[in-house]
Subunit: 374 residues, 2 copies
């Protein structure tokens, strides 16, 4: 029977886990990579092509969608799934990260964040309650608590104050989410651990979130410039503080080698703009590392992007053709590289799921690191 939210761990290998999340709109295999569909589209991709790469769930950005086309308008038009023709699960972020990085003239208070749209300068307010309402209007399947995400390099007391604020907002997010009863009966709510690189702050945050209770828990506040070494050092302890039986989501990560290292440390879900953005910038990911298709060495190379890749781009087009498209600024270059990159990411996730299921994740990770040049 279809369920609102059920996470089952099928196998573990070290700290790595593989499983599945059952939701009303479909199943999500974990570890999962969620392509980013910022403005109700995974850029340069049709939704059926996104699905064909192996994606079970995509991410939508609350900040962008509330400004354009507007949450009330999306609701009026039947919700985000119908609007963009993606019938499967959608996770929406809370808007907290983008409002601090993209908006203009923002003002942060206990209540929330007042800001001006980067699109048209219009004035808006995001609070935990309004974020829950926007995500409900969008019809989100996995709703993220509203939080503040500070830069990791700020003084400890700034990080601590911000984390405490995010925990109060987590409580208000829980209440706001629960008050939308019909939506709450169909969707899930995730809390977000903060505390940057500080183990004690991460512990306080995890305890607070667990006390409130969520369907899943994100590790927030990483991938904000601290570097892979510091991120991994934090992931050595932060996921362990979160409930074992709930999915753990590392927000905004990352490069292929980030994903392998994070799965190794117990992460179940990821989102990142990297495969889509890189695809539009002429960069392709392969099992041996990223390739820059602008490079003249590809101009007469009749081989595929990646020998081991199973995607349609690699089956059909040469590096020489992709080089030509990228150099010519052709949209088809963005389309084909995005499709390859998303497919590569999903093949990487499937390879990790298989390796964990077969108890050989350490060997997989060692092989990956041997071949992959970041």
């Amino acid at each position: 029977m279809a369920q609102r939210f059920n996470f089952t761990i099928h196998a573990t290998d070290g700290k790595a886990r593989t499983g599945s999340i059952s939701m009303l709109r479909g199943e999500i295999r974990t570890p999962a990579f969620m392509p980013v569909g910022t403005a109700a589209t995974v850029k340069a991709m049709k939704p059926e092509s996104v699905r064909a790469t192996g994606a079970d769930i995509i991410l939508g950005n609350t900040y962008h969608l509330m400004l354009r086309p507007g949450a009330e308008r999306v609701a009026k038009l039947g919700g985000l799934h119908s609007f963009m023709n993606w019938p499967r699960p959608i996770l929406t972020d809370s808007g907290g990260y983008q409002v601090m990085s993209l908006s203009e003239l923002r003002k942060l208070t206990e209540q929330g964040v007042e800001f001006r749209s980067h699109i048209d300068g219009s004035k808006h307010m995001l609070t935990p309650e309004r974020s829950m309402e926007v995500q409900r209007l969008l019809g989100s399947d996995i709703v993220m608590a509203f939080d503040e995400c500070p830069r990791a390099d700020q003084p400890r007391e700034v990080i601590a104050r911000s984390m405490e604020l995010s925990m109060r907002w987590a409580r208000r997010s829980r209440d706001g989410f629960d008050s939308g009863e019909d939506h709450a009966s169909r969707a899930a709510l995730f809390g977000i651990q903060q505390g940057a690189l500080h183990e004690d702050l991460r512990r306080i945050s995890a305890d607070k979130l667990t006390e409130i209770g969520f369907d899943g828990y994100a590790v927030g506040g990483l991938a904000v410039g601290e570097g892979q070494e510091a991120m991994f050092a934090t992931l050595d302890f932060a996921p362990d503080m979160l409930p074992q039986d709930k999915p753990r989501y590392l927000m905004g990560v990352g490069k292929p080698d980030d994903l392998v290292g994070a799965v190794e440390r117990g992460i179940d879900m990821f989102d990142c703009v990297l495969p889509t953005r890189s695809g539009r910038n002429g960069q392709a990911f392969t099992w041996t590392g990223p390739l820059n298709l602008r490079n003249a060495r590809h101009a007469e190379d009749t081989g595929p992007l990646c020998e081991r890749c199973t995607c349609a781009t690699c089956a059909t087009y040469s590096r020489a053709y992709l080089h030509h498209l990228v150099k010519s600024g052709e949209i088809l270059g963005a389309m084909l590289l995005t499709e390859h990159n998303l497919s590569f990411y999903q093949q990487l996730m499937q390879a990790m799921r298989d390796a964990i299921g077969q108890g050989r994740f350490a060997a997989f990770a060692a092989d990956f690191r041997r071949d992959y040049q970041p």
Copy 2:
């Protein structure tokens, strides 16, 4: 048995004709619309999607391809069909039009045109012989004679001198094409009638071309700013001067109402950037006329672009969603509108072929003009 080039007229209705061209790489149903694939890609479309719209043949631009990636390079990589994954017929223009409109520092002599690339300033020479060689290196199925295309509003003596030059170049094109024996045994060569709006010059041009002998004949020098009325006035006589049993190709045309009026006057083939370029600019063609998707009146319209259209965009997406994509500058907007526009153009061609075959073209054209607001 597969043939190099065979044009069969299946039915006529007034001056309108419907038929098919058999070539080694496939059949072309006429009247035919050829999507433009300037730089070895029909912009924002995968080749299999171009085919799915109903296109039997596409056009490639000699000027662009000789500059980037270069004709010798395309030949080395196996030819244009393999390079861009379009296994069906390709018509290439001669480069004559683009070299005069896009290049820099050009110098026109009896020999040809010397110019500098608009991409990198490199120096090149296009002559009838080099144009034939470039089109052979690309692996073109329908090769166009190298001509000069003057603006129609120039003095009669300028038009006359230009036409005479183009006829001498047509002879040299024929000889150049025939000298590439292996390619000539698999491809076809079309001549191009010039003479702008002057009936006597068009007659001289047609007679000269017919004397040389070509597989098909283009009406050139129109759609260069003269307006639909003057174009139709010229098409009232120009196509009749060309051999009845060969296909007639109106270059660079046009809007849906241009196509209907030109088929009515005996034209069999068309190419135009309009459906693709418009698609990237937020414009969609429908049976009631063009729509600007930027217009705010579409913002909450849950209906399709076009009720009668059978394309995937119309089956799947609302005007509201397309409006959102166009306003947001999303690549998917260009992709979906291009696909719709190309599909609409092919549906229009199919409707014309059906109407001619059933002897009701006049009624079709009258209905079209009643409903279509240009």
